[in-house]
Amino acid sequence: MPPPILDVRNLHKNFGAVTAASNINVSFTAGETVGIIGANGAGKTTFVNMITGYLKPTRGAILYRSREITGLPPRSIARLGICRSFQVSQVFVSLSVLENLLTAVAIASSPGLGMLRPLRRPELIERAERIMERYRIAAFRDQLASELSQGARKLLDIAMAVAGGPKILLLDEPTSGISTEEKQPLMDVVMEALKQDELTILFVEHDMEIVERYVDRVLAFYQGEVICDAPPAEALRDPKVQEFVIGGEYQAGGGHA
């Protein structure tokens, strides 16, 4: 069995008297797609925030390729190859779509004094344009990010996260704020584009149809603990998951009884 790309050991996070994460032990192998599910306040985003450096765990360790990254700032973790998108899209609203991606590509490829080189370099523009094509946002190339629809903004947010060529990508509710009809097409675009990068993908999602369709494995959270870690077919039929996450029996192909 290959060594895990990401190994989370005995992770705890307390906010005063509230326990947001408790004794989380989980590892991820390269290339797998993992769905993180749980009711609101179950600890999903806290888990993502600890891995990406936004929150420092109260105790425990996070190892990326056997190197401890616990408590490193987000920029250092991003530099190592763990990037993320956000529940509420985090883009540069005053910049065009191209400039957003150019900034992301340039930061990833211009360490140190390279940051003093012009932003609009042909090789960077070419890379940014390739990413735009893959994420189907090339039509909005010169449009300001503030003028984009919710769906296009989500795609830009994810495209920016992968612009630096990460090894692990965490997507925090990629379909939140998107209409029911748009969810599946958006996820098709995202997963198709991500397939080319052979990433390890962890995504937080509330829509069980999306989870069932796209992931290899499900981590279910409840009150800060992982209550199930199994393939989707098994996880979505787990009694605890049905009681504490889905809120009823899961019907294959969507919805719950």
Partner: protein, 330 residues
């Protein structure tokens, strides 16, 4: 795109050429006005860099004054009187102080960033006012400098030489800032203003980027202060370091607008003329005219004078093809 082909750089170069010729022909009072205006413009250029990151400093007179006092004190206590050495020392000292203060400042945003700078400048003001060896409330006078060993006996020739040096240095720093703003680091000015979190998650420290911008602005403020000291021939705490001096710099930044590195030069010149005439017309209420102008700019010209200039230029270039159309058909 090559910097030589940058339209702003081309415009600045053309303006420098014209101004070098014009400055030799204008009366000495205009030479003085240009000296004051362009000295301040260099400082405002630094504030423009901060403003593009949505950071406003109410205390850059700290570095402006440091630059000015470095020139005065170096000249007085070391006997060094060459403009190049004095200005170099002014820029260096303000940059070094800015570098260390920057470690504190870079952690703050919005009103805290603005007021923390003011707090530091007021400390310097207090020290200057209370210390006899630093000239106290009266300050110092400064001898006319030499220029790489060349001394001008006629003061007006000395002023003209200083103006030529100021314009060349002003051009160089404006081109430098333009190159910086086009760089990846420079483009982060807008990105950080929009969304610091995203910058961090892309792998770059927003605080580090702000620190660099801050140090750049302190270098420019010190340099501008040094020029102002040489132009005035004296330094004093009230006109160099007091909070009103910082307010004036913010005023000129708003008047100029953040649209171009050329804007501070236009804005500073307009401010200098406005203040001079306002003072002449209403010696006891000139602030009313200056304040009224600021209100007009804020309400009707959010892009400052540069917004007005570029708006007119855009309208003219849009009209040209329309005017040419009938001829093309005929």
């Amino acid at each position: 795109m090559n910097l030589v082909r940058d339209r702003t750089v081309q415009g600045l170069t053309l303006a420098l050429g014209v101004m070098l010729i014009v400055s030799a022909l204008v009366p000495s009072w205009i030479v003085n006005q240009l000296l004051f205006a362009f000295s301040r413009a260099i400082v405002v250029l630094g504030l423009l860099v901060l403003w593009r990151t949505r950071l406003v400093s109410f205390g850059h007179a700290l570095y402006f004054g440091l630059g000015a006092y470095t020139v005065a004190m170096t000249s007085r206590y070391t006997g060094v009187n060459d403009a190049f050495a004095l200005l170099g020392a002014a820029a260096l000292l303000s940059t070094v102080v800015g570098f260390f203060v920057g470690f504190i400042i870079r952690r703050y945003r919005d009103i805290f960033f603005a007021m923390l700078n003011l707090a530091f400048s007021m400390i310097l003001y207090g020290i200057l006012v209370k210390t006899e060896a630093l000239g106290s409330t009266d300050g110092f006078t400064i001898e006319q400098p030499t220029f790489a060993g060349i001394a001008f006996e006629d003061p007006s020739e000395g002023k003209l030489a200083l103006l030529c040096l100021l314009m060349v240095v002003g051009w160089a720093v404006a081109v430098g800032v333009q190159a910086y703003l086009r760089s990846t680091l420079g483009r982060l000015t807008t990105a950080i203003g929009d969304n610091e979190i995203r910058v961090e998650y892309l792998g770059y420290s927003a605080e580090h980027a702000i620190h660099i911008k801050y140090v750049l602005s302190t270098f420019l403020a010190g340099l501008g202060g040094g020029f102002m000291a040489l132009a005035l021939g004296q330094v004093d705490p009230d006109s160099m370091v007091n909070w009103t001096a910082s307010g004036e710099l913010v005023f000129v930044t708003i008047l100029s607008g953040p649209g171009s590195v050329a804007a501070p030069f236009i804005g500073s010149f307009v401010f200098e003329i406005l203040r001079t005439y306002a003072f002449e017309w209403m010696p006891h209420a000139w602030q009313m005219i200056v304040g009224g102008t600021l209100l007009i700019v804020i309400f009707f010209m959010p892009g400052g004078l540069w917004g007005l200039v570029s708006g007119v230029a855009q309208r003219l270039t849009r009209r040209r093809p329309a005017a040419a159309a009938p001829g093309a058909g005929g």
